[in-house]
Subunit: 652 residues, 2 copies
Amino acid sequence: MTLTAQHHRETTPLRDERLTTLGSRLRVALDGPFAAERAVRRATFPAEGMLRDPELDVAASRAWTLQRLLDLDKQGFGHVGVPEGADAVSDPLTAVLAFEMLSHGDLSVTIKSGVQFGLFGGAVTNLGTAWHHDTYLPDITSMTLLGGFAMTELGHGSDVASLETTITYVPETDEYEVHSPTPGSTKAYIGNAAKDGTMAAVFGQLVVDGTGHGVHVILVPLRDDAGGDLPGVTTGDHGHKGGLLGVDNGTLRFDHVRVPRRMLLNRYGGVDETGAYVSPIDNPNRRFFTMLGTLVRGRVCVGGGGGITARRALSIATRYGLSRRQFPASGRPDGVRLMDYLVHQKRLLPRIARAYALGFAQNELIVDLVHVQGADDSSEEDQRRLETHAAGLKAVTTWFANDTVQEAREACGGSGYLSENQLVEMRRDVDIFATFEGDNTVLMQLVSKALLTDYKKEWSELDRTGVVQATARVAGETVMEATSANLVLERLADAVRRKPEETTLVDRRWHALMFEERARHSLESLAQRMRAASKEQGDSFEAFNALGDHVQFVAHAYMEQRILTAFVDALETVEDEETRDVLERLCSLYALHSIHQDRAWFMEHNRISSGRSKAIGAQINDLCRELRPHALSLVEGMGIPEAWLGAAILKV
Amino acid sequence: MTLTAQHHRETTPLRDERLTTLGSRLRVALDGPFAAERAVRRATFPAEGMLRDPELDVAASRAWTLQRLLDLDKQGFGHVGVPEGADAVSDPLTAVLAFEMLSHGDLSVTIKSGVQFGLFGGAVTNLGTAWHHDTYLPDITSMTLLGGFAMTELGHGSDVASLETTITYVPETDEYEVHSPTPGSTKAYIGNAAKDGTMAAVFGQLVVDGTGHGVHVILVPLRDDAGGDLPGVTTGDHGHKGGLLGVDNGTLRFDHVRVPRRMLLNRYGGVDETGAYVSPIDNPNRRFFTMLGTLVRGRVCVGGGGGITARRALSIATRYGLSRRQFPASGRPDGVRLMDYLVHQKRLLPRIARAYALGFAQNELIVDLVHVQGADDSSEEDQRRLETHAAGLKAVTTWFANDTVQEAREACGGSGYLSENQLVEMRRDVDIFATFEGDNTVLMQLVSKALLTDYKKEWSELDRTGVVQATARVAGETVMEATSANLVLERLADAVRRKPEETTLVDRRWHALMFEERARHSLESLAQRMRAASKEQGDSFEAFNALGDHVQFVAHAYMEQRILTAFVDALETVEDEETRDVLERLCSLYALHSIHQDRAWFMEHNRISSGRSKAIGAQINDLCRELRPHALSLVEGMGIPEAWLGAAILKV
């Protein structure tokens, strides 16, 4: 590195700290507790060659992606966060921030990195013990050992408990036999399986002496040095996909494959020297969820990557909308700038508001992740809450990313469809974010289930203490307090609870009240309907099946409340007046847009009058007009240097 | 062709006519007035090799697409509908049905066919005169002359009136000079321009003796026999796109390119032998819209193609959902079939209902197209109504197609992401359907504009006849009658107008009333707001700009009413009781889903109570449960043989 380059790298974060523009101050606010870390990463990220040529075919894309990842690893943006051997503590913050940075470039690189370091490396780190760490982590972090994370099976995409692959202990030879008993048990969609992986962390049912001990994970070598399948292993190639062409997803089948006993990742359970099953966790159900709990970091990463992708798309479409003119109008003979059309503003500005809101929520989630997985002491409740929020925010953010990239594509018209403008490439890659690391619909069910579990616990505690006559309403309130720590919102809401319609539409207290009412009432009524369903005669599946939409809505309402809380918390920390003013409006736009989208629910439940509902639309229009002059600053605040966007339309 | 193949082809439609299954009877109903024509085409369509290998790169995709189109042309599925020379009448029905059939296969082939025969061939046919027909149509239909349709410019995507390309008459040599005066005047996104086209129909401003005569179209040769650009012509290549890799979209620039006078497509205006401008249409505005009116067939085709694409996606996802099991439940130890989850039913069944509804509306649109462009006499009002409906249905159907293919992708989980299951490939290709042949948002504006024009005309007629005191309400009613011929719906609506909430939720009369109220009230209030805006002081652009959403809603409400009318009309023709029963439920599902999506609007405007609004959701669930047993028949009714779907997941 030349002295000049060195100098440049060191001064860039410093220069940023001057914060002379609204955009830079918004960026610091959005970066939140990790502003310093993110500034350093932005200043040092090897941005050159970060985007893949869309013309590359599958083979060339895979080769390019592997090479890029090797290069990044050398430059310190690869295995960061994964310990290089035993005793080293895994560093969730570094891992999450690295994934986030990678998401500014080609997403195949991001995902392949996630497979190698986050999933495969993560399984070894979190489910393995000292021998595994010593033996494999150095090669994993140096990428001399590439591996897959073989959880999903063809027949069991979202249902890990029902996996069919077996891991049977063979006392005669002190080995395990890994076997795929049915076509449905074929491991599917496994990254690194089609080509690069020489080992996989395989999920399967552990059987010891005829007794099943539930799902465990074992390391199975896949390929010999020449790249051929090892005896008993059959790898398959998923070939061309909707996107992420650089990730070699494939299938794995095992035909009575034997591996030594020590290959089982036995932190939470395995066979000891005597051939007996031992586990530090007695309850098999708890053991299962403890092992799955290690997936949480992947979900935090994927949600974060989706959020960055949405920001890239919004940055491109907004910058384009600020320069592109179409149709002359009175006083605008050269044509109206796209961003001056209200219809266009409404495509982009509410999504920008939501992108910020999700960013603040992601920051809080990272804080929680660091708390639970870092050096701090944390409770099982902290862990469970983290899992719930990670599941929900992953679902909400990746759906948002898909919607936003598509809207940005359409907002750029025909040029949005050209690969050189990146939007269609992002759209292809981010599509599957809605499905992998947990199908979004299933993740939202998990959120509701967790809320109901808390609810039930609360009820039975009330029952025990004799307060059986407690109304559902009281129970609901207690639960929401206990589970989401929405004290700030609650205080705001309380102030206007009696006369909600006497506030203005941009009164944060009213937003807080509406978000709280939506979350609480939907949860309470779901709990009631669940009780009724459980008492119903007949097909109990159908009784619960009928509640499917309601379950999704409860999770949605809860997550919206979390997100607003995060936004309000973040506002507290902003001191600069102009920055705070813009963010306050942005928060109102986020909140009103969320209420507006569910305004039918609010009217149906008599939370807002029809007249007030109509007024919300007009207020959103006003907020768009007020924020329009700040559009460029708002996308600058997303922290993506224009050159990184790589869109040809912005270079004209 | 062997005798056996011949025999097979002839008997297939006959066998279909036996209609022994519900699926086949639904298909005949959905095919409607064109059931016989469609049956013949399905039976004779060369389905082998209809899907492109997703691995092909841009160059290979283009070569494959061209070859497939040449093959299809030989087999009678290419230039059908385009006359082969002068005097031949163009056949809109055959053209539209051919486009529809092609949309069952690779969409690059469909679109390249549309460029060559529909747009380029269509321009020569409809805007040219005898010399053009004689000289060029034979080579166009035989594909020895491939051409582009060079309307869109980089700076003017949706604004044809503002095109900058000039076509200047040069009396000295009796030629025209075609010129691109600015970078923004570069022709962009032109199919056949990057590689295959040797000529283009170029839109530009006609200038004769210093006077502008507005947009006209001229044929300009592009390439020499060796494929090189002709002097003054610069072609460019858009390269890799979001999809449609087989279509060679590119740019065109002209530097004072001279072409003989006869090259101007002069049916509606041109320079005569004396060098004077002559036109059969005096009013320049009317001339402009007459020329653009010839675009209508393209919009009918693109909407139809989008509808077929949605049907393909629904066919794949529904068939998969009927076989795939996930998560065991009580009484279902092997796992629940995806289609048995209510949440899954609601992803697919309301979209199936809408796919049928749009199919019926498309049938009516084709009838209107044949009426206007065929041998019948038709009025200017018929033509204008056709244009409005074609614009609206193109927008509604292509948005639906994008939404539906994505939902189908997600409903198939990870396997939906594999290219071998076709959904991601469809999704890539159909994306741009929302933008080309008129950006959907702009098309919806056209619909509202047409409605307001009718409205204004109606008002001024009332004024003239002295009924100045007519209320807005009366005016609105009259307009909607006049413009949409919704007599059937109106009669239904009238029957329940006084006590709308005393009907059941599946009462067609109530649906009709709600659809009518939504369309009429939104139009009336828009007209009032437009009037107020026009009287406002200050920036008139901003006054109208504020109405952008309202304009979109009016077009949406009107199109929904058209679509319901078409469904109700189609129901009238179904005699078989079971078929009719299923279609009645499907119509209710479509109608209720449409009302449900806008239920906030209905509550805000006091058209439904909050209690009734809540009940709609439960009724939709009931309809899904009732239609669930018919899911397979419903996709069979979409008329796509399973083998054509080409999805690997259905072959297991």
